[in-house]
Subunit: 242 residues, 6 copies
């Protein structure tokens, strides 16, 4: 069972992160997991949601969307339909939780980082690419806040990144593309911090259930992929801004 | 750290399942996980969604809601607000996937089982109680279809149930109530089938990340609780209808 | 023409009121008019709507809903549809007006009593059961406000309850169940206070018009049923809280 | 307590009905109850709602709206707000029921009469004026259907009209204007057919309850006003189209 | 190619403006361009939108709607559908811009003039009639503000009016009715001020493109029609209020 | 008054068109007008809207959106807000009309070309860039239909492109960037076909009216810019697909 582009089972697709992709945003990247392409922006907004008024801390929230023709068949535009799908809401809640897990909201002060992840081309793994890319955008937005002396301490506690793993005909596979994702029995999304702490583990088996042993194999494989992603995040962030 | 009502760390709350709770529905139960109370109904609808027209199979879908005053502070009514929250959508998608994992949709024939889970009193674990209870309602709806000779073979392949586990100050806890859930570092929802296959594993750590070892301890504890739930489901289903 | 369960024409269905039904609410009851079952809660909210800011008085408002499978055929969930039907709006406006008619809003102070009536099983008369039950929940919420010394004087001026009457093939019938309501020529809902003052009289004849004489007969019959309801409310409220 | 324009207690405001007011509609009138002005149109639509497909009968449905500045203070436009208020829904349901009570839906055939009542200037009694005016528009739409030989028999069984009555400081008043309606204790809307059958009786007492005797007085007064309205409808319909 | 009612190519339909049409509004007119009839009201609202809080200036905004049966075939009611169409939004934005172009917002003070244009009968040119009529309603609302000594200086800098021109089979036509508008190749709406300055020029050619020469001819024709409209506005405003 | 990047008054910003930008779409480009960047896709959908069923012709429709952080300050996401703004609707209607003006809908056959224009970075001129870019995407979608032998004749009759012109302190300026657009007195969007026919002329003067002479100067300047755009479209379409 060869994978597309001769990938091995435990091999990620080529990952690329382009910083400073949208000129207006305090942080912005284009992240590519193979043919999946997501624009992630981090915007600084000088207020907090009502439930945090006067609480002496900040907030981070995320929104997610797909361009209508990012997919093989055109999807209906959510703005035209007048509401976001359950899938969209689920993904944007996941992105928000993942990034808040590495952010010291007290050090951020009374402001909000608004993350926007917009998929311009989809080929599987849009939620994991969004998290990995949004982390870099977040770092750049925080860099802006520190350069402008708006905050003094770094509120970012660790890296965070995400990858998917699946089981297809008994074989574990890292970083599923769309075709693999569609035919897979089990699908596991793993979000980890740089020190290998688990933030989110979301495994789903609609067709064939999975065993504890399979879960372990998938988690090992995910961890290996995540280490590559942390390396890439670090390397990307070391380069000076374009 | 004693738990409310002298529960031990690995002890479930008292679970009660009352069948035939709503007279109109083909299947209906009231399920109680301690003070959490959910009405689960399974309705037989003699059509399938458009994407399955003519596909020679059935479907199961689920909706979830909370009465406005099921919670400590009154929540806004979603019908009045004009939309369902992201949390609601996430939960109803989870319930649907969990139940479909044990249902042979071909044997169901071209019809839909519509599950409705409505929380009348909430004290943590509403999504796990919904899944465990909805399974019993599903069995009764299928029993109706067989008694009426609408289908001949049993489309239900196995039991399915769900429970939550958490880590609070380093200690794993089974079946969290609301107070525990709110103060917990990590929260894991586990959905399993009767033969101990994993269907859904959803672990979330917004405050403190968790390790692979902690995940293992939590999964062990969940499995133990789920075995109790499968026993209760079996015992409940053995009794003749009221 | 015998009625279901051998009721006479002027006989109510068995009525049951269970107080303290939902633990979180300041007042809550399960009310049953035969097979019709409604959960009524009264929540104290420490603010008033904008149009009453600073007016030195309180407010009472009501919302109404039906669980999707409370009915013989599953109804679409209003939260999923994104709006409340005209029927729902009409009923919740009626419940609010009925309860405000016996409430001294000045004595309530600048706070709102939010009534929620949720039908868990429907068999005709859901709006009348809602009013009768919500009155008891209101009394318990007011009891809470007085026990907590939040208000000193009792703002409740009188009892209020409701019942339906109809004319079926020339015969007047008290407290219609669903089958009777559907086949009835005329349908009259009557809301009265304990001193037999009329609050709402809503008579509708879509099929056969009714005469002044028939209206009189129906009002007499309603009044008789309402006296039973006031007695039951009194007896229920005399018992100490569970 | 003199009334505006020296009306006596039992005197209607000047009523005017102008037929053929909107050139495109099959039936259309401008109806005026004093300063209240409503455009009522009846449109013939050659299909029935889904629940009547193939049932061999027609339908009549009504919608109601107010121009934003028909009132003393500008109201928000419902189209801009994105939903109709509970009051709007309640009124349009009432108009529909009232007109269906005099229409033989079988004789109408498989088509819908769509009534639209749009208030261009409001001074109390908009719902009663809508019903009285819409009846004339309905007659003209039916006249069109018969002139065009689309239907052969007259589906209109009787006249229908509506008027409000109130009690202000113990005095009954016919046909309330806005100032009277706002200060009134009790408000009763009565819909009757030409042969003096009751179709709708809607009495509401938010401030002071009313007695059976008061209800009787109000119904007598309403009947007297309705007879004037039936006379005017007849006279208006006798004149040839402008 | 004779026009309906023997109009010449460059001849407007009969234009009528009736002031003080709705008693509650500070300014209100019925404007008729032939069979097109629009009620325009100008309401004074003593606040400004959030983006102008404290800016020391006022605002003018406009809304537009059509009665469902103002057209040949009944249109769906936007309030019932739950949203305004793109066409409606486009027109109300145009009306607002046109009237703001002649209004000194500083002299208006911190208040809003809310324009409502509601088409009660449509026969082409509803947006141009709305602008021409709303100008007169605006003048009356400003007259009210000055008579009440709420503002001292006149904020209206010039007249504004609008007309449409089209090209049908190579011939330019002034003030298109519905039939002409539907069959026309090009449609140009022109908004001008009294001193012949251009405010809006909106030319559209869905079927056959137009040349610079044709644009010039159409602009000449529009200007001629607009001069008639300015004359009528002046004459109308000179008459004392009814 | 020098322009940013030393542009002369009649000089366009650097324009770049990148074909085949999104792999899934039948036609797709990234178009850049300086710092304005828009992804335009053309999707082939094998059905027509209801009003064209059986009419023997096709349709083209367009949707437009902006990523929330395409702008200097983050805009609210329309999908989250639940509706598209009036500006969005106006622009997408304009794009649709512009492209339909050069498309022979009969030759297209009974199918729809769905255009999506999504702004990923905004700096003025997003609607004009959308039209110019969408034309190239349309050509590629039509190329696909012809290569696949789905249609035989070319339905594209001519080029179409768009540019904005403004007057700033009396000076005409071609192709306004955001800063220029915001401070400009008059703003004119011109859509033309390759043979210099006018399709849309939309001139707006909210602050200072404009004269016929100024309109002429602006149209001359627009035409000169449009000729450059047609050249670039031709050159781009001549290159083989990447």
């Amino acid at each position: 069972m060869p994978r597309y582009n001769h990938r091995t089972l435990a091999q990620m697709r080529p990952i690329r992160i382009t910083r400073h992709y949208i000129r207006h945003a305090e942080g912005s990247v284009l992240i590519e997991y193979g043919e999946t392409k997501v624009i992630c922006t981090a915007s600084v907004i000088e207020k907090v949601p009502p439930f945090l008024k006067g609480a002496g801390q900040g907030w981070l929230t995320a929104e997610y969307g797909m361009l209508p023709r990012s997919t093989g068949e055109r999807m209906q535009r959510e703005a035209a339909k007048g509401k976001q799908s359950g899938r969209t809401m689920e993904i944007q809640r996941l992105i928000g939780r993942a990034l808040r897990s590495v952010l010291d909201l007290k050090k951020l002060g009374e402001r909000t980082i608004q993350i926007d992840c917009d998929v311009i081309q989809a080929d599987g793994g849009t939620r994991t690419a969004s998290i990995t890319g949004a982390f870099v955008a977040l770092c750049d937005a925080v860099g802006y806040l520190r350069a402008e002396k708006i905050i003094s301490e770094n509120p970012i506690k660790d890296h965070v990144a995400a990858v998917s793993v699946g089981i297809l005909k008994g074989q574990p596979l890292l970083d599923l593309d769309y075709a693999e994702d569609s035919s897979c029995d089990t699908d596991l999304n793993v979000v980890m911090t740089g020190n290998l702490g688990l933030v989110e583990v979301q495994g789903t088996a609609e067709k064939v259930v999975f065993s504890r042993q399979e879960l372990d194999v998938m988690l090992d494989m995910a961890q290996q992929g995540l280490q590559e992603l942390f390396d890439l995040q670090r390397k990307t962030l070391e380069t000076a801004a374009s």
